[in-house]
C-alpha cells in the first residue's frame, strides 16, 4: 500500500495547558489530535499524575511539515519558558493523505 509523508508532532506538557494546546493546534491548521495522560520527570522535577497540579499530557498531531513547524514554534515560544514542555517531530507515512 502506498504511503504519503507527513510529520508526527508530539507535545508532552503540563495538563494545565491542554485547552491552549488544542486551540493552538486547530488554529494553525491541524485537522486532528490525540491526547493521553502520561507520567514522567525532567528538569522541572517529577510529575507523577497523583493529583490535579501534577498531571501531564502527551498530544500527538499528524500534519504537514509547515503546520508542525508553526505549532511547534508557537508552543516553544509561548510555554517553554515557564512550563514543563517537550516538543519533537518525526516522519510518518499515512495511508489517507486527505485526512492529514
Amino acid at each position: 500500500m502506498q504511503t504519503h509523508a507527513r510529520k508526527l508532532l508530539v507535545i508532552i506538557a503540563e495538563a494545565a495547558l491542554e485547552k491552549d494546546l488544542v486551540r493552538a493546534a486547530r488554529a494553525f491548521g491541524a485537522r486532528g489530535y490525540t491526547l493521553s495522560e502520561v507520567r514522567g520527570g525532567g528538569a522541572r522535577g517529577e510529575r507523577e499524575a497523583a493529583w490535579e497540579a501534577d498531571r501531564s499530557i502527551e498530544m500527538k498531531v499528524i500534519c504537514s511539515e509547515s503546520v508542525a513547524e508553526r505549532v511547534a514554534q508557537h508552543v516553544l515560544a509561548t510555554y517553554a519558558p515557564n512550563f514543563a514542555v517537550t516538543v519533537f517531530v518525526t516522519d510518518v507515512g499515512v495511508f489517507r493523505p486527505q485526512k492529514f
Binding site: E37, A50, E52, A53
Partner: protein, 310 residues
C-alpha cells in the same frame, strides 16, 4: 485521635519510605468528586430547613476575608521573605483561597467533639474559593504589562469542579430536602468518614512528595507555613464572632481562613501567573500548612472560638 489523621500519616510514611503504594489517579478523582458533593448535599439539606436572613452578611464577610488575606500576606512574603513578586503573589493566593479537605477534617473533628455548626458553612466554603485567587492575580500583575485572560479565569472560578460540585450539591440538597434524601443518604453521609480517610491516605502520599521541595524553599517558607495559619485562624475567628457565627461556625471559619488551597489555586495560578514557581507555593501549602492544620491547627481554632465566645 481522629482516624483520618492517622491515614494521612500512613500516606506520608509510605512516601518517605519509598513504598510502591500509589492511589490510582481515577480513584483520587472519584474520591474528590464524592467529597465535594457530599459536603454540598449535607449543607443543602440542612439549609433548606433554615431561614436565610442571617446568611447574606456572613457570606459577604467570608468573601471579604478571603479577598483580604493575600493583601496581608503579600508584603510579608516580598519584604521579609525576599521572594520575587510573582511567587509572593502566588503563595498569597493559595492562602487566600481555601482547602476543602481541611474543611472536611474540621467538620469531622467538630462532630466528634459534639460541637454543632451552621448548615450554610459549605456555602461559605464555596464562596471563599475564588476571591483569594483573584486578589493574588491582581497582586502579581500590579504595575506589570502582561494581560490576564479574566474571561477564562471567571469561567474556571464558577465552573471549575470544586465550586461547581459544592454549589451543585448544596442546590440538590436544598431542593430534595431531608425526606427525599434518604435513598442516597447511606452513600453520601454514611460513608463520608471512611471515604475521607481513604482520601487522606492519598493526600499523605502527595504531601510526603512535596517535602523535598521544602529543602529548596528554605527556612523562611517553612516558618511561614506554620505561623501564617496560626495568625489567620485568629483573624477568621474574629470575623466569625463579628458576624454572629456559633462556636462551631467560628471554629470552621477560622479553619477556612487558616487553610491554603491546593486544588483551585495551583491550577488557576499556573495559567494566570506562569512565571511563579509552583514548587514553592504547593510545597508550603501542602507540605507544611495542610499537615499542620489537620493535626494541630483545627483543635487550636476550636480553642480560639472558645476563648472568643467565653
Amino acid at each position: 485521635m481522629d482516624p483520618v489523621v492517622l491515614f494521612f500519616l500512613l500516606g506520608v510514611i509510605a512516601r518517605l519510605a519509598k513504598s510502591d503504594l500509589r492511589v490510582p489517579e481515577p480513584l483520587y478523582e472519584a474520591l474528590s468528586i464524592y467529597l465535594l458533593l457530599a459536603i454540598g448535599i449535607k449543607g443543602g439539606v440542612e439549609l433548606a430547613q433554615q431561614p436565610l436572613g442571617a446568611v447574606l452578611p456572613q457570606a459577604l464577610a467570608a468573601i471579604a476575608l478571603s479577598a483580604a488575606i493575600p493583601f496581608v500576606l503579600f508584603p510579608i512574603l516580598m519584604r521579609i521573605g525576599r521572594l520575587p513578586r510573582v511567587d509572593s503573589a502566588s503563595i498569597a493566593a493559595h492562602y487566600g483561597s481555601v482547602s476543602v479537605v481541611t474543611f472536611a477534617v474540621g467538620v469531622s473533628f467538630l462532630a466528634k467533639q459534639h460541637v454543632a455548626t451552621e448548615p450554610h458553612m459549605p456555602l461559605l466554603l464555596a464562596l471563599m474559593e475564588a476571591p483569594g485567587i483573584v486578589a493574588g492575580i491582581l497582586l502579581a500583575r500590579m504595575g506589570g504589562a502582561q494581560r490576564v485572560a479574566w474571561g477564562a479565569l471567571a469561567h474556571e472560578a464558577v465552573f471549575g469542579k470544586s465550586v461547581l460540585l459544592l454549589l451543585g450539591g448544596i442546590v440538590i440538597g436544598a431542593i430534595v430536602g431531608p425526606q427525599d434524601i434518604t435513598p442516597i443518604e447511606p452513600l453520601f453521609m454514611g460513608l463520608f468518614k471512611g471515604v475521607l480517610a481513604l482520601f487522606l491516605l492519598e493526600m499523605g502520599l502527595v504531601a510526603g512528595a512535596r517535602l523535598a521541595d521544602l529543602r529548596r524553599a528554605g527556612v523562611f517558607l517553612v516558618a511561614f507555613g506554620i505561623v501564617t495559619p496560626v495568625a489567620l485562624g485568629v483573624l477568621g475567628a474574629l470575623v466569625g464572632q463579628l458576624v454572629g457565627l456559633s462556636l462551631g461556625g467560628t471554629a470552621l471559619l477560622a479553619t477556612l481562613a487558616a487553610s491554603a488551597s491546593y486544588i483551585a489555586a495551583p491550577t488557576a495560578m499556573r495559567i494566570a501567573v506562569p512565571e511563579a514557581n509552583p514548587a514553592l507555593s504547593i510545597g508550603v501549602a501542602l507540605g507544611v500548612t495542610f499537615p499542620f492544620n489537620i493535626t494541630l491547627g483545627i483543635p487550636l481554632y476550636l480553642q480560639y472560638a472558645r476563648w472568643m465566645a467565653g
